[in-house]
Structure formats: structure tokens, C-alpha cells
Amino acid sequence: MTTSVDGVPVPAATAGPARPRSRRELLRVLLAPAAALVLTPVVAASWPTDPHPDPTLAGPGSGFAFDEVYRGRRIQGVPTRTGGRAAAVDPRWQVTVDGRPLHLMRRADGTWLSMVDHYRSYPTPLEAARAAVDELGPGEQLRDTGEGDGGTEQGGHHGLHA
């Protein structure tokens, strides 16, 4: 396994799992500011909150932070302005459902999919979060891995294990 300049694992002469070299390191950088926002309402409130963003107005980052109760579930999302140069115009997102991280992934066309609803995508992180709630049964909660695995990240998902 070799690693390219932006830390993305790439295929090498010997095959191996495509995993970030140091996931914890990546998450520490990625999650620290986001965690602060989620846990500090005063700071979080400084983000513009629009529960019904117009996707046509949204840039490639797909809208604003959100915090709403949808079908009895509290869904919150904040763009995280970390993660390298590209994040300045194309932020990653930290999304939770009832406080538990919902892993979102980005498609090449700019749409979003979640770990719960993995075989289609949605125009915004908010719509992806609502669609995930639609799929949760009564009392069913996202598995809280304790690793803050709710961001969008480079590479596959990890830390989802029992």
C-alpha cells in the first residue's frame, strides 16, 4: 500500500485493503471542530439554520446547517470546514440522528447517500438524513460506535463494528 499526496490510499504492487493509513488521526482532525459545534449550542446557533433549504440555491456543499425534529427524531447537520483545501468550497458534513452519528457519503454528481439508505442518493444532506429517518423502525437507533463515525470521510467506513 502506498499513499498519494492527499493521504488517499492507492493500489500498489501488493494488493491490500483500501484503508486510510491512520483513521484515528484523520478523524481527530476531521471531528474536533464539528464535535465542538454539536456540543455547544451557542456556537452552533451561529451557523445559519434553514430547515427547508432550496437545493437550487445551494452550492456544491448542499446548503446550510440544520437542526429539526423530523418524525419524532432530532436530526442535526453541520458542514465542517476542515479536511483540506477542497473543504473550503465543498465542506464535509457532520450529521446526527437523535445525537448519534449518521455517516454520509458524497456521489460524484454532488448528491448524498447515507449508511442507512445506501442504494440511492439525495440532493442535500438534510434530505439524506430525513430519508434515513424514514427507514428507522420504532425505537431503532443508529449504532453509536463511540468513534464519532458520523462524518463524511475519505475512504470506506470503519468503526461500525459491534
Binding site: 498519494s4 440511492r120 423502525g137 449504532r143 475512504g155 461500525l160
Partner: protein, 288 residues
């Protein structure tokens, strides 16, 4: 000698029982959950960095072909007569018939919480407790046909449309590739309508519950679905004998897909095997 993968609707009572028992045994040993975990770990989306192998990439088909072979080998270590049956959802479209019978996969989830309560994979049997999952649910769930917002299974016309594609895959080799056999079969489209999720993707949505999420392998129908996807690939290969897996060569440093897709002669993680080596499986198995 090559073994045969059969249409699930044609299995005898004995074949059904042996297939189910082999699944339950590898679940008991903990092997099954390794497959669930692997599928979660190798789902890399194309709007993010990193090498994509299992989805939104040309190697969607060979990755799942090898994944199926690994599962099938695990089953055959338990019972050498077992092979993975395929579910031809263009024909077997009834929720009351195979594979949704009590002696195979059990039926739909119940209304209240979508829990599968019939058949050998019902939670109450104690034999199929979910360990690797996206949520804290421990029981298998299904929502066949999506009761709240119904959809139909893909049709023969959808499969024929994919089979008519003369080229295996096209640049940019991802979920936005609007031509090519691979994405026509994988089923990524654009927009909000149902055209945005077709064929392979649509079947995951039609089954619903566990099959909708990253831990879709928790539902054994995953293997029957992917055996049929694999069968369709063999049909495409027979129809377009002059066409091969693409890309033949890795995208260059100037490409956005540089080091993000697996070319024909590159190793396909997590295995020490190339798409080229997985194209012809005629000596391992065939489809009845």
C-alpha cells in the same frame, strides 16, 4: 469439474434445507459476519477520495463475483453439495413464493417494526442475530415492495437494456457513467425520479430493511440477488465476445480517476486477483 448454480425457484426440498443449514452454520462460526463487515468496509463512494472497488466503479462486477465465490466456498466447506442459488427477479416477483418461503429465506417483515418473523432467519430462532449493523437492531428486517411508497422490481426490459450495451464501462468509470453495461446493471442514474436508481440498486430498495443499507449482506437474499447479477454478466460476455472488462489500462495521473479505479490487470483489493483473472469462471461454476 464445474458446479452448477441453480434458479432458486427450482431447488428441491433437500437442496433448500442444505443451503439454509450451511448458512446457519457459517453464521454460528462467526464467518458470516466477516462478510457483512467486509461489504461495509469496501463501500467507497465516488464523490470522495480513495480507491473504489465494490461500488460505483468498473470492478463492481468482479468484486461481487469474487465475494460470492468466497461465501460459496465457506458454504461448501460445510456441505460440498451446496451452491448459491440465483434469484431471477424478472420472473420470481411474488412475495408469497420462492425465495420468500418458510423453508428458504422466510417472508416479509411484519408491519410494526419490519421484523422478519418467519423462516430460518427469524430472530426468534436464535440463529440469526445481527452483529454487524448500521443500527442497534438485532433482528433481520424487510419491507418487500416498500409498503409506504410502493415500487416495482426491475423488469426483463431493464436487464435487456443493460445487455444491449456493447461496451463494458465508460469514463469517468463511476456512478455518473451514462453508458456501458456495468452502470446500466449497477443502476446509478441522475435526478430525483425512480430512474435515478435502477436494476441492481432498485432490487436493494425493493427488498428494503437490511437490504437498503450498508449492512445489506445481513439478509441472505443479498447472495441470490448478486448471483443473478453475476449471471447477467455471463450473458453479456456471451453476447459481446469481442468486448472485455474496461478500463484495460489504469487512468493516468492527469485523470480524476487516477488510482481510484481498478484496471483489467491490477489487483482487486482485498484479493490477490485481477479483473482479468475473474472474467472467465466457466471452469469453476456455471448457471443452470
Amino acid at each position: 469439474m464445474a458446479y452448477t448454480r441453480k434458479d432458486v425457484t427450482t431447488l428441491t426440498a433437500s437442496e433448500r434445507r442444505r443451503f439454509v443449514n450451511a448458512l446457519l452454520e457459517i453464521k454460528r462460526r462467526g464467518e458470516y459476519d466477516e462478510f457483512v463487515r467486509s461489504h461495509i468496509d469496501y463501500y467507497v463512494s465516488d464523490g470522495e477520495g480513495g480507491l473504489r472497488t465494490a461500488h460505483m466503479a468498473p470492478s463492481f462486477l468482479p468484486w461481487h463475483r469474487r465475494f460470492l465465490l468466497d461465501l460459496e466456498n465457506a458454504l461448501r466447506r460445510v456441505d460440498s453439495s451446496v451452491t448459491v442459488p440465483y434469484w431471477d427477479w424478472t420472473r420470481a416477483r411474488s412475495v408469497g413464493a420462492a425465495p420468500w418461503t418458510k423453508d428458504l429465506l422466510g417472508g416479509n417483515g411484519r408491519k410494526s417494526d419490519r421484523q422478519v418473523t418467519t423462516g430460518p432467519f427469524a430472530y426468534s430462532t436464535g440463529n440469526w442475530t445481527l452483529k454487524e449493523n448500521i443500527t442497534d437492531s438485532r433482528f433481520l428486517t424487510r419491507d418487500l415492495g416498500r409498503a409506504a411508497n410502493p415500487i416495482e422490481l426491475p423488469t426483463k426490459a431493464d436487464v435487456d437494456g443493460a445487455l444491449s450495451e456493447p461496451v463494458y464501462d465508460v469514463s469517468p468509470w463511476d456512478s455518473t457513467s451514462n453508458r456501458g453495461f456495468r452502470n446500466r446493471l449497477e443502476g446509478w442514474g441522475t435526478g430525483r425520479g425512480s430512474a435515478a436508481w435502477r436494476t441492481h440498486n432498485r432490487v436493494h430498495r425493493w427488498v428494503g430493511g437490511e437490504m437498503l443499507g450498508g449492512a445489506s449482506v445481513n439478509d441472505p437474499v443479498f447472495w441470490m440477488h448478486h448471483a443473478f447479477i453475476d449471471l447477467v454478466w455471463t450473458r453479456w460476455q456471451q453476447r459481446h465476445r469481442e468486448h472485455r472488462y474496461l478500463p484495460a489500462e489504469p487512468p493516468g495521473p492527469g485523470s480524476r480517476q487516477y488510482r481510484r479505479v481498478v484496471a483489467r490487470h491490477e489487483k482487486l483489493p482485498p484479493w490477490n486477483v485481477t479483473p482479468d483473472q475473474l472474467e472467465d469462471v466457466g471452469r469453476i461454476y456455471r448457471y443452470a
